[in-house]
Symmetry: C2
Subunit: 362 residues, 2 copies
């Protein structure tokens, strides 16, 4: 377990100590049961692998996954002043109002999956107090957006720790009413810090990792690559210190996502990680405590080219590959039905013996 440098943050330190690997005994029991189901051996492939994971995560052969919540972490990014996104920062707050009104992609897809949506202001540039006071979003606001990482660090190390701890607090506050978490993000410009995080933590080149985000053309893409290379030169984050990476080139919502994953893992709850930005958060969480990966389900492979390398760093194969590039938790919401299906395979299908079906000869 990687020690937290700032010992005064005893909360994060304590949480990390509560994260253990999946339970091998439950994994083995689930595997043995799945091998007896009335179908050719492991014929439901990746969903049977996932069923074993669910048993190992939850320490149950009837892993609870019914109560589903997508947590959308929101933050703004000073680096937008470099022109890295086609949309202005104001859209971040506008989209929060859209989430609250139920009009965004995540609202439609979470509803289809029977999941709740929780929106958390981690660091929006706008004042969202009206929504906080109405109780329709949570505030864990660290600041009104990060600093421009093309010029210096995104945030102080203290703010990085606070962002991660805020994410853990959200997970803990919800844990009693949630069986499975899903991550989501909103933050104009956040593919830039996510790509920077990916470059540091996967070791891949910025050029190989950088994509068109919300729709950059060739010239804009080339400019974005140059900016991210500059970001890494200016900040030189320490790849062996995930909190340094978050502080130097991250974002508040990315820290919140990392914390949510840590909190879910500490409570032994599966956490479905959405797309490119959420996976950057997962890499931060993995850097803080590698066993978090035992609780992660990768929802989908996004269109961002760097996503593959990030998921390989987590050692995870995604469930879906649908050319999604929205974020908000939409890919995670889409995969929740597959998680429920995995549970159903484990709990509802008859064995050869039960059903009187002739099994495979030897």
């Amino acid at each position: 377990m990687k020690p937290i440098t700032q010992k005064e943050h005893s909360f994060l330190d304590t949480v990390v100590k509560e994260i253990f690997p999946q339970d091998t005994s439950y994994r083995e029991q689930a595997t043995a049961h799945l091998e007896q189901l009335t179908m050719p051996h492991w014929a439901l492939g990746d969903l049977m692998d996932l069923a074993v994971d669910l048993a190992g995560m939850t320490r149950s052969l009837k892993p609870p996954v019914e109560r589903k919540t997508v947590v959308v972490m929101v933050g703004d990014h000073g680096v937008t002043e470099e022109g890295v996104s086609k949309y202005p920062s104001e859209v971040t707050a506008q989209m929060v109002y859209n989430f609250v009104a139920g009009g965004a992609g995540i609202n439609a897809l979470a509803k289809q999956a029977g999941a709740k949506v929780e929106v958390v202001d981690m660091g929006t540039a706008a004042d969202l107090d009206d929504l906080v006071s109405k109780g329709v979003i949570r505030s864990k606001k660290i600041a009104f957006g990060t600093n421009n990482i093309a010029k210096g660090p995104a945030m102080s190390r203290t703010h990085a720790v606070l962002a991660v701890e805020a994410g853990i607090e959200v997970a803990y506050a919800l844990a009693d009413q949630v069986d499975i978490f899903a991550t989501g993000d909103m933050g104009i410009g956040n593919t830039t810090p996510s790509t920077a995080i990916a470059a540091v933590l996967t070791g891949s080149s910025v050029r190989d990792l950088t994509g068109r985000g919300t729709g950059l053309d060739d010239g804009e893409l080339e400019r974005k690559i140059k900016i991210i290379e500059k970001i890494l030169e200016v900040n030189h984050p320490d790849k062996d210190d995930a909190l340094d990476v978050l502080a130097k080139v991250g974002g508040f919502e990315i820290g919140g996502i990392a914390g949510l994953i840590l909190g879910a893992a500490a409570r032994r709850k599966p956490v479905v990680v959405d797309g490119f930005i959420s996976t950057a958060g997962a890499l931060i969480a993995q850097g803080i405590e590698p066993f978090t990966r035992d609780y992660i389900i990768c929802a989908h492979r996004s269109m961002e080219p760097g996503h593959r390398a990030m998921q390989e760093k987590l050692g995870k194969k995604p469930l879906l590959d649908l050319n999604l590039r929205l974020g908000e938790g939409t890919g995670a919401a889409l995969s929740l039905n597959l998680v429920e299906a995995s549970r159903a395979i484990l709990t509802e299908v008859a064995t050869f013996a039960d059903a009187g079906v002739t099994g495979t000869p030897e």
Copy 2:
């Protein structure tokens, strides 16, 4: 439109005449709406493509997909006497009892997706009259299994037409209570006829197409390849005559699946095509009437190596790729939630104008 050779089969001929392409006007309206949603352009990728298809299939901007039925077509195969499967033919009927008892993979996954399961005996070797008289399965039995296609044709051309017509009848009988169909199959040995169909209709080699079915080892796989090559030599099916292909190297359940797809297309209902065997049925349907592909949604890419070439022949990209190799309609059931999600994107997400969100500049 390809004429049906046997003009006495006026039912099939009539149905084929009722199959038209997707409606371009509804496709265009759906596209225009989706481009205005509060997200980067086409950010939900393949699910937006699917939403356009649903609008074009159903002639509606609120395409109905709520009432879902998986039709599991069942048949036996004389070719099992060549040792092409690890399981004996008796398992086909045993699995029908398992379906009826609710213990199979498809039962669990259809339930998760909120879909009904209809089991149709197209040509099981066993007598299933007890289940038919209880009303828990439908009988469209053409015969007690096909002939051994390693020695001669699977069935007469008349039986091939009857099998397809039986599938259409099932679609028509259910159409008033079903918004979206999903195909499924059960039939020990049926990867062998499906591979033979794929070889004829895609033009790929048997060696490239043949897989391990329910779990063959290297020697058994080599033997299966030799048998399928022999099947094609013995029967020389006419690649330009899908009914000839079905009669020579097909199966009753495969004909039923082809008919279900034709019937769904004639009634302008989307039909989710499951795995390797169902896709063989889809190729037969496409051979009878190419516009059927306008109503097909390919559920998943199975582990059988030939599946890719078959889906490319249909011109379709599958929604899922989860290393499934079960059949029964399980992959189709898993994808039904994604179809519902596509509809939700089309009908529930706010536009930039509605939500007061700043759109992309220009």
